[in-house]
């Protein structure tokens, strides 16, 4: 077998695949962020916290009510989405007329409060959540040993990403949403309930993060800090893809997962900085991001 820069090819293929899997998480999270930013113009710093809530709700459903992973995958996004609905109605909706900075501060504060509450209740070392029996075990791909669950993550992430993209770009509802972002007054004049549309968009973005949280629960320990570990990277992904660009979020999510994965082989110490180096380079050459429209 050949090798690249001293790294044997099987190992390299394995790392590429792992990068894609992590990229799946980045893509799902940055997708929700991009949707919320694109439609509401809110920089949602609480996104990591709702990702964490998704995982915790799955854990609670299992431990308090005996509801298994598959139902949690459906229920947790609904429950957390409902929480997002209330949040938008009561607090977030007051910010639309203000500067971006206020939204950023408010959601950052919300994230701290949410994480603090879970930390008080459940500690920081995490809760065990087993991989569902059907998805446990692994397959030998020849170049690597792939846990079935990770395979499932990449499939689920792809399906969710494509479905969201289709919903926004190809359906009637999506076109209404996009129109409402461009000119809310005009769309309202056509009899569309724009505030309701905006609330549902926020709830949808939050539900996406919660879905990713449930997917992450069996892999990472379910702990209150799990979201804040992700959120910085995910913001960089959104900026690189172009703020508000759905397609950009998906492509750069997967792409940066791969870049990060490869860095872990060649120079692991830099694996948490490489994404920011890419961000700097992208912003220097294309200030609106790779797929963003210059305004």
């Amino acid at each position: 077998m050949f090798s690249l820069f001293g790294v044997p090819a099987p190992l390299l293929f394995g790392q590429l695949l792992l990068g894609l899997i992590n990229g799946g998480f980045y893509a799902m999270l940055s997708l929700g962020l991009a949707v919320i930013f694109g439609m509401l113009n809110i920089i949602n710093f609480a996104h990591g916290a709702v990702f964490m809530m998704g995982a915790f709700v799955a854990w609670m459903l299992l431990n308090y009510l005996g509801i298994n992973y598959w139902f949690a995958l459906l229920l947790a996004p609904l429950i957390v989405g409902a929480f997002g609905f209330v949040l938008e109605k009561t607090i977030i909706s007051r910010l639309y007329k203000l500067d971006h900075l206020y939204g950023l501060l408010l959601t950052f504060g919300l994230a701290l409060v949410l994480e603090g509450l879970f930390r008080n209740g459940y500690g920081s070392s995490g809760m065990p959540y087993q991989i569902p029996a059907v998805l446990s075990g692994a397959v030998n791909l020849g170049f690597m040993f792939l846990p079935i669950y990770r395979g499932w993550v990449i499939v689920a992430a792809l399906v969710v990403c494509i479905a969201t993209w289709m919903l926004i770009e190809k359906t009637k509802l999506g076109s209404l949403l996009r129109a409402a972002t461009e000119n809310p007054a005009l769309v309202q004049a056509f009899g569309v309930n724009v505030p309701r549309l905006v609330t549902l968009t926020f709830a949808g973005g939050v539900a996406l993060a919660a879905f990713a949280g449930v997917l992450a629960a069996p892999i990472y320990s379910v702990n209150p800090n799990m979201g804040s570990n992700f959120i910085n990277t995910v913001f960089a992904v959104v900026v690189i893809g172009g703020m508000g660009s759905i397609f950009g979020a998906i492509v750069s999510g997967f792409g940066l997962g791969v870049i990060e994965g490869l860095t872990k082989v060649f120079y692991p110490q830099a694996s948490d900085t490489v994404i920011f180096v890419v961000m700097v380079l992208v912003l220097l050459t294309r200030p609106a991001g790779l797929f963003g429209k210059a305004t």
Binding site: S124, S125, P147, I219, M226, N229, K264, S271
Partner: protein, 409 residues
Amino acid sequence: MKISRRTLLGATAAGAVVPWARPARAADGVVRIGVLNDQSGPYRDVSGLNSVACVRQALQDYGAATRGMTVEVLSADHQNKPDVGAGIARQWFDRDGVDMIIDVPTSSVGLAVASVCREKNRAYINVGAGTAELTGKQCAPTTIHWAYDTWMLAHSTGGATVKAGGDTWYFLTADYVFGHDLERQTTGFVTAAGGKVLGHSTYPFPSTTDFSSFLLQAQATGAKVLGLANAGADTVNSIKQAHEFGLTDKTRIAALLMFITDVHALGLATAQGLVLTESFYWNMNEKTRAFAMRIKDKTPNNMPNMVQAGCYAGTIHYLKAVADMGVAAAKASGAATIARMKAMPTEDDAFGTCHIREDGRVLVPAYLFEVKSPSESKEPWDYYKLLVTTPGAEAFRPLADGNCPLIHA
């Protein structure tokens, strides 16, 4: 309330007086203990509020109030950042009249606070940090190091693993002083026993959550042992993912630092069979059980681990020394208090009777445990089987090898 010009002036004048009144706190006869640790990050459950509860329990069990001693306990979150930790320590000493700082996990912060205590001549009982440098090159007349250190872990867990046939290693190392220390010391034992280190991955701390890439690299080397030179939530995630990737079929995991709180987070189904070292286990004997039961209601989420028990024992011993030499003398000099603590044997429910060495090392015995399987566990938190006990005198680095300047002076 209506604020008149007079009240405003009065308040301003009072405000101006307050900073001048503060230095008097240093000589007011109140003993102040500062518990400095992680209260919001990855080491929160390992130290955190449970350490604070243990310090308070120590005041109660020692009977500070009935002995006429007034003791205050302060606590703060150092966020695992050396600059934040050192800043709080300075503020505590300069403004709040704190006499002793205890706990301070995260080796980088532990070392930073040690030098502040030395500079200000205040007592320092480190329990939570791992680095053996605290009693080595960076030892200080104001420092005591309680429950464990990297040398002890490498010697006990690492040594036992090599003895059991694990002679080729791959390290997964957290990229800061503790991880490097632990890797270096374990490497020493592995190579001395004729084993080999096949490689290592040093990952950014504390921002890494996915270890699969490193696990794959470890797998590719064919090493028999995966040495985890990390702690807390990182260790939990590494072990979880090693299982997921089927690493555990052929590779033994040496969790070089693991606490009972981490075992609890993993669940016995995943953690069973792991071998680890702690110097305290709640279910060891009558006294440890009695201590654990006293503290249990105050820490609803966790049983105490060796760090938290160390905070308890350290506080009791400190109070004994303060009572022995008088509050005024103890408040005047941290180094003198520490010297008195070294001269007395320690005695408490958590660790029994131990001795403190000149370099500040508390010679507690090291216990090598194996994690029970779910069927062996009879009650909540019944997690460990004792394999080997190393007496305190042999559990830690020999005095001569530490290069502590206090010894050669």
